[in-house]
Symmetry: C2
Subunit: 409 residues, 2 copies
Amino acid sequence: MVALSRRSALALAGAGVAGSAALVACKSSKPDPVTDAVAFTGEHQAGIVTPAQDRLHFVAFDVITKDRDRLVQLLKDWTAAAARMTQGRDAGEIGAVAGIPEAPPDDTGEAIGLPAAALTLTIGFGPSLFRRFGLGARQPAALAPLPKFTGDTLDASLCDGDIAIQACANDPQVAVHAIRNLARIGMGVVSVRWSQLGFGRTSSTSTGQATPRNLFGFKDGTRNLKAEEPDLLREHLWVQPGDGPDWMTGGSYLVTRKIRMLVETWDRSPLAEQEMIIGRTKGIGAPVGMADEFDDVDFTSVGADGEPLLAPVAHVRLAHPDTNNGARMLRRGYNFVDGSDGLGRLNAGLFFIAYQRDPRTAFIPVQRSLSGRDELNEYIRHVSSALFACPPGLSGPSDFWGKALFEYE
Amino acid sequence: MVALSRRSALALAGAGVAGSAALVACKSSKPDPVTDAVAFTGEHQAGIVTPAQDRLHFVAFDVITKDRDRLVQLLKDWTAAAARMTQGRDAGEIGAVAGIPEAPPDDTGEAIGLPAAALTLTIGFGPSLFRRFGLGARQPAALAPLPKFTGDTLDASLCDGDIAIQACANDPQVAVHAIRNLARIGMGVVSVRWSQLGFGRTSSTSTGQATPRNLFGFKDGTRNLKAEEPDLLREHLWVQPGDGPDWMTGGSYLVTRKIRMLVETWDRSPLAEQEMIIGRTKGIGAPVGMADEFDDVDFTSVGADGEPLLAPVAHVRLAHPDTNNGARMLRRGYNFVDGSDGLGRLNAGLFFIAYQRDPRTAFIPVQRSLSGRDELNEYIRHVSSALFACPPGLSGPSDFWGKALFEYE
């Protein structure tokens, strides 16, 4: 029984191509942003401005222990495992643990031979965690639970959570392996509250990425915040000194919304109506009246009939920064299909993910604008909602997830 | 409003890399088995011995019309759309249909700019279909509903179906787009009964593919039937003349089983016990007592203690052709994670897919062997089961899915 790391297993398996589309497609000696490792430590957590990977496994945990020390130890253990897995290694040894032949393996094995696949693991803490463990005074004002919005049809069992971990990777098996092993390590301390798989990222977070499409068939996230815009990121994405408690400086607030799309209803509406509702063309993705995807939205032009070319209730108008006091977020959502709904329809939609400096001036006002007037509401249902405080990145090997939150004077 | 095909949209979008890991990874002018198109017509349906793609969207439909002609028309419409989509084109025009400006688009748009991604669409007909539309006398004896097996915990709403379509592709957005558009085209004639997404194929169907791993972390499908073994395929996979009704000659019978894996329980068991239960090592995947993955299973050797090295209840022993009168199937299953189960656990497992010449001498006896004795049963639950007759491939443009079944003297 030989202890295997993913790298040594990779060597044993030769090309080690199992399950990886990218590796099957080409072999290159150059660094490959699709399969290579993303740095785990740094000023900010990876998985936020990191060029959006293609696959998602998101999990929200309930903390089931009352023992603060056990929770802190888990955060240390998770950090160590995350540092390994994001670098393409196992969560722990596959072989029997030294001296304890009856111990289960410290890694579950399904990612043996797979590359790092640009895996990022991003942690956040939910408002409910701050009601326990003596953390009450540490809760940022920006982490107040989200208000109810018009039309919300939330399923409480799919909402909130004490701790969230977002796993993004270019191979779903790598993202699933990471979350599954973190859940395994957390046994007895945390319990999976809800979990979501996603594919087909619906936003670009880097100017090097083409704009992908959501399940309404439209390009999504054309005007997203991008990694290459440091001034905008400072203003809209990263928590700045003085914004709130120090432990969040350099961090960001994460809002997730699982948005069921009634695709069957949408698919019955005429193209012209779809384009009116979105405010962009379906093919090119250009704003109504414009020629190119990246042209500015034209709010004011009127047609021959004297009506505005861009409908007053068009989604791009209602969601635009100019309509929301300049509010911007970094979105990195994913499409999902969770089987069918028992009523003859696919259970499909968008798992919306947005990072921001302060939800009180970003997600909340924008969603108020959308939930009241957006014509899209006829075709969507918000079924899950959550908010998490994602601390800054780890400074080095002695740092761990939540250290500055839990270890204070 | 311009009518766009996926190819023309691709040209407009330049590199058109949205959502495709493989395309981001490399650009090559050579044919690429990961992104290129698989032929839609041929002696057998594609998607069976086609090298297993990385992603799955499987759907089972109920037929909700009583009108035989409407059903046949749908099969013709589906065939036309499938022929287009498998070649990297849209299901129909994206733009307004000529002369009917209020018509919805004939394609939903989310795959614009994506390559064919080796999409295959494979159709099968379930036993329940043969109770209607005058098809009673056309039902093959091999298509009798599956028996109950020891330990089955099936959810009837996830079982069976009149018509199944398996979409496999190397991009999940392409597979989802195909099923979603077929469901759209079928509105009013069929209704989605159940649907399943999968990732990380758990079997190789070609000798050129490495053996992937299931969510127990073990290599799965090492001894699968392979495309390069025509004699074995004739004997075990393809329905032969005289086996039953002519319309199935050259076809194959498809068994699907959704197998929930209790991964949290499995992850607590020692490596030695996991390897005993499977009968292979976890790292290399070699049969117990052997050195290499592809070594023959050693049924007879005993250890120093006089006990068989390969446990009497090891999975590889119980599932082996030598234990089941030579029974073999072509497996092309996928891993799945469907969120969490409300009890703090991931809802994860294997969506088992197996094609065979006759389930009465293949899946049924093998599953009887496994369901009675396999130690794995402690860690798995069969929650969905279905059987479909998949006819042979289409002969050309005038042929359509089900033609030989529905159009007879």
